[in-house]
């Protein structure tokens, strides 16, 4: 049943995406919900059960871990409540199912700080309320599900009446639509539609789990990956034999060992048996890995492969040459390696008082965060927001007493906050909504202050920044009195579209003018894909002529889809 729900959602993901109100090319609800659902289904398949309680629990756990974007998080909460309500049940009658829907809604409302009506929440709420009423008079679960679906559809159509921005654009809520598709799948299952091809569709939808603690552009194709982006490039595999030599060997603590490996490595796999340990790791420092491991016993079957070399070969086969910047990058990397060497370490790691995790788009932005003491930069991906699980993994890979997370996107905050509940580590999410807010917050960090005071400062620092972004409109629409044409450049001041121009420079100027209405000392320009040197120079000249009281800081951001991101503070 859940499989079909996921399948219907997946085949309609693009339709859901198309309902996104803002004509900006990222944060796609359909994609986020689809990936969330796929994660739920993967978990469900791992633990198939004929008991409804157990099946719902497995689905819920998968959803919780895979939750991406606000709608994904809400979806995961809906099913978490659903599963909790059915826990321990072999089967469920109509009354119980209805109560489960209601419990899901209750939990979802609690999870959202400021619930907004006219969204997926409303759709779920009205459907659940109807289910409870219907179940008082009818006992058939199939009929109940049909009613839930119909009511959800009805509620969905009313969302434009509840949320003005939907009406303005003339669409229904995208998250709500996603939920209706899932319910539609449930109905199809119950009414006997076969689940043929479901498997094929689902496995296609399942996200490739790309989890790289440090350098995090999702690997979509070899050609998109720079050879030097493979940071942990020695692929190592070996066995540690515990009992062959007479020499005393150190006691083996698996989690400490993994932590030590993660300092300069990823893709870590450690399988511990009584007298043999299998180790797989991608490391930047193979020597350190060997020195560390040899303390625990004799090493055998040692394989070390250079993945950059492999990648170069692949590129060569495809006739792609490496970028000429590689020399600079490797020099920078050498320095970075050196800096790490300088830290005093015991077994290669130590517990720091603080750790920081930021979500970023673009290699330049990621580098700015790293240079500002951020330990892990997760990729914001243009349509793939990091999931709750990505955050949990990042949190657990850090050996720090307290961890701050900077989501840097309003659609990622909930997934980050949900991660707090899934870990016993001490974590604070600083709800930054933009990259400029994130940078300001990170810089407000003070190592010798308490987490509470740091949070206060970071939140306040983020609130002092005005953020602006320039991107291409993905469709014709009209919002806040601005007529937007597909393909034109639109300027967003915080969440509001303030300009739409066929010309990038003109749109940038108009946006900056509106951002610079108040007092300000500093203008930051982050150049992304689509920015040209000519336009950037013209923009800087125009700024220094018209806004001579402000300092200008020009930085390479490398963010996709947004040629320019601005900060005024």
């Amino acid at each position: 049943m859940a499989l079909l729900g996921a399948s219907v959602l997946q085949s309609n993901a693009e339709k859901v995406n198309a309902l996104n109100v803002f004509p900006v090319p990222d944060g796609d609800t359909g994609t986020n919900m689809n990936l969330t659902m796929a994660s739920g289904v993967t978990e469900l398949k791992k633990k198939p059960s004929n008991e409804v309680g157990k099946a719902a629990e497995a689905l819920s756990k998968g959803l919780l871990m895979g939750a991406r974007g606000n709608s994904g998080v809400i979806l995961s909460q809906l099913f978490r409540g659903f599963a909790k309500s059915l826990a321990g049940n072999d089967q469920a009658n109509a009354m119980e199912v209805a109560a489960a829907f209601q419990h899901g809604v209750d939990l979802a409302y609690k999870a959202v700080v400021k619930p907004v009506e006219g969204t997926i929440l409303t759709v779920a709420k009205e459907a659940a309320r109807h289910a409870v009423q219907y179940a008082r008079r009818n006992t058939d679960v199939d009929d109940l599900m049909k009613e839930v679906h119909a009511k959800a559809q009805e509620a969905l159509l009313r969302t434009p009446e509840q949320l003005p921005v939907l009406k303005q654009v003339g669409v229904v809520d995208s998250g709500g639509q996603g939920l209706v598709y899932i319910y539609e799948g449930f109905v199809q299952y119950l009414t006997g539609s076969t689940a043929e091809d479901t498997d094929a569709i689902i496995s296609e939808a399942a996200p490739v789990e790309v989890y790289v603690p440090e350098r995090t552009e999702p690997v979509s194709a070899q050609a998109k990956l720079e050879t030097l982006d493979i940071e942990f490039f020695y692929d190592m595999e070996f066995f540690i034999k515990r009992n062959v030599s007479n020499a005393a060997v150190a006691a083996f603590d698996e989690s400490a060992y993994k932590k030590a490996l993660s300092k300069d490595g990823d893709s870590i796999l450690v399988i511990t048996d009584d007298d043999i340990i299998k180790v797989h790791v991608h490391s930047r420092k193979p020597g350190d890995v060997i020195s560390l491991s040899v303390q625990y016993g004799e090493l055998t079957d040692i394989h070390i492969l250079n993945m950059r070399e492999q990648h170069r070969e692949i590129l060569a086969e495809q006739g792609i040459t490496e970028h000429s910047t590689s020399v600079n990058l490797s020099a920078a990397e050498l320095l970075a390696g050196q800096a790490i060497d300088d830290r005093p370490t015991e077994h290669g790691f130590e517990v720091a008082p603080y750790g920081m995790i930021a979500v970023a788009l673009g290699d330049g932005v990621a580098e700015l965060f790293r240079a500002s003491d951020v330990d892990i930069v997760l990729s914001g991906g243009q349509t793939m927001n990091p999931s709750t699980e990505d955050f949990v993994k990042a949190i657990e890979s850090l050996s720090a007493e307290h961890i701050f997370i900077f989501p840097n996107n309003s659609n990622i905050i909930l997934a980050a906050e949900q991660a707090i509940e899934l870990t016993d580590r001490s974590v604070t999410v600083i709800p930054t909504k933009t990259i400029p807010q994130g940078i300001a917050a990170v810089l407000a960090f003070k190592e010798d202050e308490t987490p509470e005071r740091n949070k206060e400062w970071m939140v306040s620092a983020a609130s002092m920044v005005i953020s602006g972004q320039v991107t291409k409109a993905v469709r014709d629409t009209s919002i806040d009195g601005v007529n937007i044409t597909e393909g034109h450049y639109i300027g967003l001041k915080e969440k509001a579209i303030v300009t739409s121009q066929p010309d990038l420079l003109a749109a940038s100027k108009e946006l900056l003018e509106s951002m610079l209405e108040g007092d300000a000392d500093l203008i930051t320009i982050l150049t992304g894909e689509g920015a040209t040197e000519e336009i950037t120079t013209a923009l800087c000249e125009w700024l220094s002529e018209n806004f001579s009281d402000q300092e200008i800081d020009l930085q390479y951001g490398g963010q996709p889809l947004y040629p320019y991101v601005f900060a005024v503070e």
Binding site: D521, Q550, E551
Partner: protein, 285 residues
Amino acid sequence: MSKVRIVTDSTADIPLELREKYGIKMVSLKVLFGEETYLDAVDLTPDQFFTKLKESSALPKTSQPSPVEFHEVFDALLKEDPEAPIISIHIASVLSGTYQSATIAKSMLEEAGENVHIIDSRSASSGHGMLVVLAARLAQEGASVEQILEAIEERRNNSEVFFLVDTLEYLQKGGRIGKAAALIGSVLNIKPILSLESNGTVTSVDKARGTKKAMAKIVELLKASYGDAEVGLIVAKTDDEAATHELETRVRAEINVKELHYSSVGAVIGTYTGPGTSAVFLYKI
């Protein structure tokens, strides 16, 4: 009763007319550009220094006065009036060996040294200079050693020093970077907001992106310290007139400045801060 005599060193950056007005005796540190040696504030004015700093390829070096130089000054004053106590106030001992030299000079005076008081200002430039001028004014008014020492301790405790440098390179190469070292090589045009700890060690109390935001933050910090209280402000002039002027304007717009003075960052202090420095020194009236 004989009036207290006040001695200091050239790093107090006290303008000549004030030294003359209050009869402050000054012992110069030395600045070395390659083979050439200059007496700070005597052979080399602040303007001349910053011009030379720009032209010279090698960084200048400085050297503290020898105990003998202090001894000569103390001895001469005691010969003028053996009854007159001497208060000799110096740059923070964590920043320079000058205080040490003066202390040795005192011990060289044997018994006569009992009337000589060597004071660690635990500050530098006008943060140190404001204590010297206050002491000299009180001395002229006939205050006792105890009264003067108490007054300068109080002034030290209600004063604030903030400064911005163009680059941390000079503080680092001069070995005076203290706790601001962590900010070397940072990205995003980060400006450390520099101050002095209670013993005079250079520290970074905060940071901001760009000079203008750093100045705004200094004003914020001053506002937190002084609120609307009446304060005295000393603006230290350097080669960067525009920055100094902007900092002064911003401070005066928000802080209730009742006394305003100007000083100039001299050659020795300038050797450690480098060009493009701006600094403000404040005290509660």
